[in-house]
């Protein structure tokens, strides 16, 4: 059973896991079970080891906390870039008692600002009682306690309503840009995320596909690229360079961050969200050495241990 499952069933466990020491011990044990190794980023240079380090040492850093809130992240992106690059906000529900009577727009996306991986798509303005009940549950959940991601711990529960963007068919592709030490290393492109499981391709900074597999993610095989038009470039957004510049600007004050974009691959880009612990440090890659691509952005010689770039000198590393 996952940590979230335990806390949901036994709320008292949530209080126990609030303690930093207990939480870190628990998360280290889970990491070792999941990845079959002790987390040590300085030795391995693997992304999950870095994420584990961020989780246990500095995930309540105020910049990470502020940008984890989906409402505040938009303020941050606008403040940093000077442009309105985020998905517009249609409304914010701040009080649980407003949920029952709230009239949702015809087509929209509803998400908690203080949690990850929770979303309700609204079609024709219809929201079922079950969905409203789910939203009420969001308002009582503390995602930091559920997952050990402390930057969520002090966030105010709110629900944000955004327009349903249909940039790539019914659902948008997620362009997940992994920025390490202020430099884009790799971009994961998730397709079909809400249509029966995510399928993902990973490209390095030069938009060369990386052939890595994950048991947690349905991989879009590189050989399947033909289905989409013979070349990996079919996924490459026309505004890729601008996306890189924005992601690197957002990542300049952080050792590692993942900046998610939506784009129609032509002239529209939106910053979706800012993530600090990608996949909650649980996503396994095969071979594990390929995790380094999210750090270095290089492919050649990736399995050579000397390839590892160690973090040094930065406060939030």
């Amino acid at each position: 059973m996952s940590r979230a499952g335990i806390v949901r069933r036994v709320p008292l466990a949530g209080w126990l896991l609030r303690s930093r020491l207990i939480s870190n011990l628990f998360e280290t044990a889970v990491f070792m079970i999941q990845h079959r190794r002790f987390p040590n980023f300085d030795r391995t240079g693997y992304m999950n080891d870095l994420l584990h380090r961020i989780r246990v040492t500095e995930s309540d850093y105020i910049l990470r906390a502020f940008t984890s809130d989906k409402e505040f992240a938009k303020i941050y992106v606008r403040g940093l870039t000077g442009e309105d690059l985020s998905v517009p906000t249609l409304g914010i529900i701040r009080d649980v008692s407003d949920i029952d009577g709230y009239v949702f727009p015809e087509e929209c996306v509803v998400k908690p600002t203080h949690m990850a991986n929770e979303i309700v798509f609204v079609k024709d303005g219809k929201v079922s009682q079950a969905d409203r009940q789910r939203m009420k549950c969001w308002m009582t959940a503390n995602f930091g306690v559920l997952t050990g991601e402390r930057h969520y711990m002090r966030l105010e529960p709110k629900i944000i309503i955004e327009p349903w963007l249909r940039l790539n068919g019914d659902y948008c592709y997620d362009y997940k840009m992994h920025v390490y030490q202020g430099r884009l290393a790799a971009t994961g492109v998730s397709t079909s995320r809400f249509e029966g499981g995510a399928r993902r391709l990973v490209f390095n900074r030069d938009w060369i596909p990386v052939d890595l597999k994950s048991p947690e993610l349905a991989q879009l095989d590189i050989t399947e690229l033909g289905r989409f038009g013979q070349e990996a470039n079919v996924f490459k957004p026309a505004l890729y360079d601008k996306m890189v510049a924005v992601a690197e600007k957002i990542g300049k004050d952080l050792c590692y961050v993942r900046v998610d974009f939506y784009t129609d691959c032509k002239d529209r880009i939106y910053v979706g969200e800012i993530s600090h612990l990608s996949g909650n440090a649980r996503v396994r890659y095969q071979p594990p050495a390929f995790e380094r691509v999210f750090i270095t952005g290089e492919i050649d010689g990736i399995e050579n241990p000397q390839f590892v770039t160690k973090t040094a000198g930065q406060r939030h590393a």
């Binding site: 850093y61 105020i62 910049l63 941050y76 940093l80 000077g82 966030l155 406060r315």
Partner: protein
């Protein structure tokens, strides 16, 4: 010796006050000693009671912490207003080891981003004593010194800004108190850096409020002509100042937004303050503390940032 002085002298002693019950108990006793009353905002509707409540209940609210940091506050202001309204940043020193060799520009102001009330005005390069003081800033945790938890998670950094001389050799501080989204009062600080100097309070329509601070030199009663002479006349950008302060303040129950202006066309946002004067400033008459609170307004929306509850006065 006060908590502030003790932790300032011995930063390691801050650990003694870090447990929240100890910190809150100390701050409540200090409040009672200072103001000769128990803090009870719901009953009194006084500013200091609200400040105390915020200090012990919710000064850890993430947006408060973020906007407390002087570097990050500029990103917030630009994010909510869409304009570059803050004093430009010349540089930020993030590493204590860089202080000794740093070449400061002439005519600049040096401040720690993670502390309050500390500033060095530099005409030329910094002296050895000033550098020593800066190195000391990097060791201090303002939350340990004051109980203001919004400072507790801030990185120690030093920000360098140009020395604005908008009102003579220094700039006056126009401190807009925004309560539940509306500017209710504006304090004018006229000393060096607006602190420890002369002080007057105005309504949002720039009428003098009959309130006096026991902790600053009062500017006294003055006619409109005398006010103009002494630099207290209505700033030309007052309405814009109020509009900006209310935009910044819409995410908070109560916040103080400070401005600098030449009273004509130059306007800068200075800083954002959440616990005004650490809930220590004594005003006379005491009922005047209510000028800083919107009376009879409904409870703040939201679940955590709701310290300004209903007022029963």
């Amino acid at each position: 010796m006060s908590r502030f002085a003790l932790v300032r002298a011995f930063p390691a002693a801050g650990f003694l006050f870090r447990p929240k019950p100890i910190s809150d108990l100390y701050e409540t006793l200090a409040f009672i000693y200072r103001h000769r009353r128990l803090p009870d905002f719901e009953r009194t509707g006084y500013l200091n009671d609200l400040m105390h409540k915020m200090k012990v209940c919710q000064s850890e609210f993430v947006a408060r912490s973020f906007t407390t940091d002087k570097e990050l506050a500029k990103i917030f202001v630009r994010g909510v207003t869409g304009e570059d309204l803050c004093v430009p940043t010349l540089d930020v020193i993030r590493d204590v080891d860089l202080i000794d060799g740093y070449r400061f520009p002439g005519n600049c102001v040096v401040k720690p981003t993670h502390l309050s009330g500390e500033v060095i005005f530099l005409r030329g390069d910094a002296t050895r004593e000033e550098r020593r003081r800066m190195r000391r800033w990097m060791k201090l945790n303002f939350a340990d010194m004051t109980g203001e938890a919004n400072y507790s998670r801030l990185d120690p950094k030093i920000i360098i800004e140009p020395w604005l001389k908008l009102n003579g050799a220094f700039s006056h501080d126009y401190e807009c108190h925004v309560d539940r989204g509306r500017v209710v009062a504006i304090d004018l600080g006229m000393g060096e850096n607006g602190e420890d100097g002369r002080w007057a309070s105005f309504s949002r329509d720039w009428e003098r409020l009959p309130v006096r601070s026991l902790d600053a030199e009062d500017l006294g009663e003055a006619s409109v002509g005398e006010m103009a002479q002494s630099g207290m006349e209505r700033p030309a950008q007052l309405s814009r100042m109020i509009e900006i302060a209310e935009t910044i303040g819409r995410d908070f129950c109560h916040v103080r937004v400070d401005f600098y202006t030449d009273r004509k066309d130059v306007l800068y946002v200075g800083e954002i303050t959440h616990v005004d004067n650490g809930a220590r400033e004594r005003l006379q008459p005491i009922e005047a503390e209510r000028y800083y609170i919107r009376q009879g307004q409904a409870r703040c929306r939201g679940t955590r940032d709701k310290s300004a509850g209903d007022i029963d006065v």
